[in-house]
Amino acid sequence: MNGLVVNCRGVTRIYSDDAVPVQALRGVDFGVRTGEFVSLSGPSGSGKSTLLNIIGGLDRPTAGSVEVDGVDLGTLSESQLSDLRLRKMGFVFQAYNLIPVLSALENVEFIMQLQGVPAAQRHERAQRMLSELGIGDLLDRRPGELSGGQQQRVAIARAIVTNPVLLLADEPSANLDSATTEDLLQTLRHLNELHGVTIITATHDPMVMQIARRQVKLRDGAIVEDSAALDASAAGA
């Protein structure tokens, strides 16, 4: 292995459902090492979400290859992709996407339940994670009874409680006020620095960009700037 959790080679994505095909990604080469905290940024429509979704196995590239944790996603069936998402990825979406009929605690337990973690262990881990994120007293509330920031924290707890190889967050702060965003960012930084979780975010939010250690900028479906490359060249100089 080359030490990369994520390895994209020549990833192209063309949306051809409309009359005029849209080229969302144009041959992107992109690698992420274990423990990195990467921010994808760029103008609206530059392809951030598309890249994130392809890395997450939610979308397939029109051309090029994607490896996650050494597995070539192109070789996997839908069910195998489901399993990969279940076991290796954590997702945080812009709209928190909790399951409305489950309580906060049950939402956090959900993925572990799919994974077959025994009930007692599941319960204990979910409870600990929610307490760690500061909402240990809201375990029995359903999503409809939680504020936006609280829901986002439940979503993060759900995404990381299983120790995924990779945490993908698309506009995690889009629906949050700046104080809540600050909390969220502390949480992400904490996860990254103390637990070594590899994080990739796609965002417009300067607060989120600043906290990431590596900045990647996209424009028109291509990477136009990558701070890791700068670091490398700086180190080389």
């Binding site: 489901s82 979406f93 399951i99 009929v101 339940q113 799919l114």
Partner: protein, 407 residues
């Protein structure tokens, strides 16, 4: 597959839309209780019809001389050995009766009628209707009893009464006519006037003497109710065929093809009725399920994005449908059974009694609940519940996680 999780999600989703779930339950339980009740009426009708056929003179199985069905006369008769007894399990057979049944003309001072003259051993006739009718006068005393039992309707036609004499004309075994006077021992009152007009009874030995032949024309065998299922009927028939070689051994279905056809039709009526009710119900169920799936497209997309397998999504929708169906079926069977219990004394059909009585049936219809029918309705409903959810489940699993999340 995380079955418990899926069950939990299905249950909670049903509870989330209480009103919708309640309407579904209502529709299912009304349909199921309707089917259950209707089934019990059809079964009651079927039971009465079989009883009518079997109890009148036919029996479950009859032994006849080969030509008797074409020409029911004394010429087509057979001899029973003394102490005859076919090898049939006692728990299968309720009883049997050997009879002579021949066409005859009966004359009073005023009227003449054509009838079936039946020579019987009164002791063995508890298996036929004549064993349980009510009398004016008295029943026959023995096979030697040379008096007559006449139906009430026939007695009215002949304008005669108990104790009076009637003349009977019939053909003897030698082909010559016999004529003799008989006194009326009793006038019986059967369920239908059809029977009363058709059958006149006398002692079998007395009739044998009149006809000059120590023969019978039929042996009628009545099986116990539990033993009257098709399979046991066939096995009993097989043994009887071995015993009565050279004679016709026929089940009631062969002897009374019309009644048997009605009986079979009632069987299919149960299915047809079920299909009609379920058809209407399934239409509504599919619609409701599709609505509920379409409302939750985002949710299904998210479940898939988080790593739930396509198969689990299908199972979740199927479970939802099956859960409602199972609960509705339970309630429906409960209501249906209560309804049947409430009408256990029977439904009075005397308004239509004439037609019913002609068919030799009682004018009181008692609904009958068969456990097998209940089980069948329950199982088929569940099967329909699963079938109804397949298309909605397919719609749910077709949801692409990404597209759903973009909404």
């Amino acid at each position: 597959m995380p079955v418990r999780l899926l069950l939990q999600l299905s249950r909670r989703n049903l509870l989330r839309h209480r009103r919708r779930t309640f309407m579904l339950l209502l529709a299912i339980s009304v349909a199921v209780s309707g089917v259950t009740f209707m089934n019990s009426l059809i079964r009651g009708f079927q039971h009465d019809m079989r009883e009518a056929v079997v109890v009148n003179m036919t029996g479950d199985i009859k032994v006849l001389a080969p030509g008797y069905r074409d020409d029911p006369s004394i010429e087509n008769s057979f001899v029973l050995a003394d102490g005859w007894a076919p090898d049939l399990p006692v728990d299968l057979v309720d009883g049997w009766a050997a009879r002579i049944k021949v066409p005859a003309v009966i004359l009073s001072e005023r009227e003449t009628r054509g009838i079936q003259l039946v020579g019987v051993d009164p002791a063995s006739e508890r298996i036929s209707f004549i064993g349980s009718v009510s009398y004016a006068g008295e029943p026959l005393a023995s096979p030697e009893d040379a008096r007559l039992l006449v139906g009430k309707a026939l007695a009215e036609q002949l304008q005669t009464a108990v104790g009076r004499r009637l003349v009977i004309m019939t053909q003897g075994s030698d082909g010559l006519n016999r004529e003799a006077g008989f006194r009326i021992a009793g006038i019986y009152d059967a369920d239908g006037t059809g029977l009363e007009k058709a059958f006149v009874f006398t002692g079998v030995s007395a009739l044998q003497r009149l006809l000059d032949a120590k023969v019978v024309t039929e042996v009628s065998i009545r099986l116990r109710e539990e033993g009257s299922s098709a399979a046991e009927g066939f096995s009993a028939r097989g043994r009887l065929m071995d015993y009565f070689t050279g004679l016709d051994v026929l089940r009631w279905q062969e002897l009374e093809p019309q009644a048997a056809a009605m009986f079979a039709f009632a069987d299919s009526a149960i299915f047809i009725w079920f299909l009609i009710m379920m058809g209407a119900l399934i239409f509504g169920l599919v619609n409701t399920l599709i609505t509920s799936v379409m409302e939750r497209v985002r949710e299904f997309g998210m479940l898939r994005a988080l790593g739930m397998r396509p198969g689990s999504v299908v199972v979740q929708v199927v479970l939802e449908s099956t859960l409602v169906m199972a609960l509705g079926v339970l309630i429906g069977l409960g209501i249906g059974s209560l309804l049947v219990g409430w009408l256990a004394d029977g439904i009075d059909l005397s308004a239509w009694a004439e037609g019913v009585e002609l068919a030799g049936m009682r004018s009181l219809l008692v609904p009958r609940l068969l456990p097998g029918d209940l089980l069948l309705v329950a199982l088929m409903s569940l099967v329909f519940g699963v079938l109804a959810s397949l298309y909605p489940a397919w719609r749910a699993v077709k949801v692409k996680p990404l597209e759903a999340l973009r909404r």
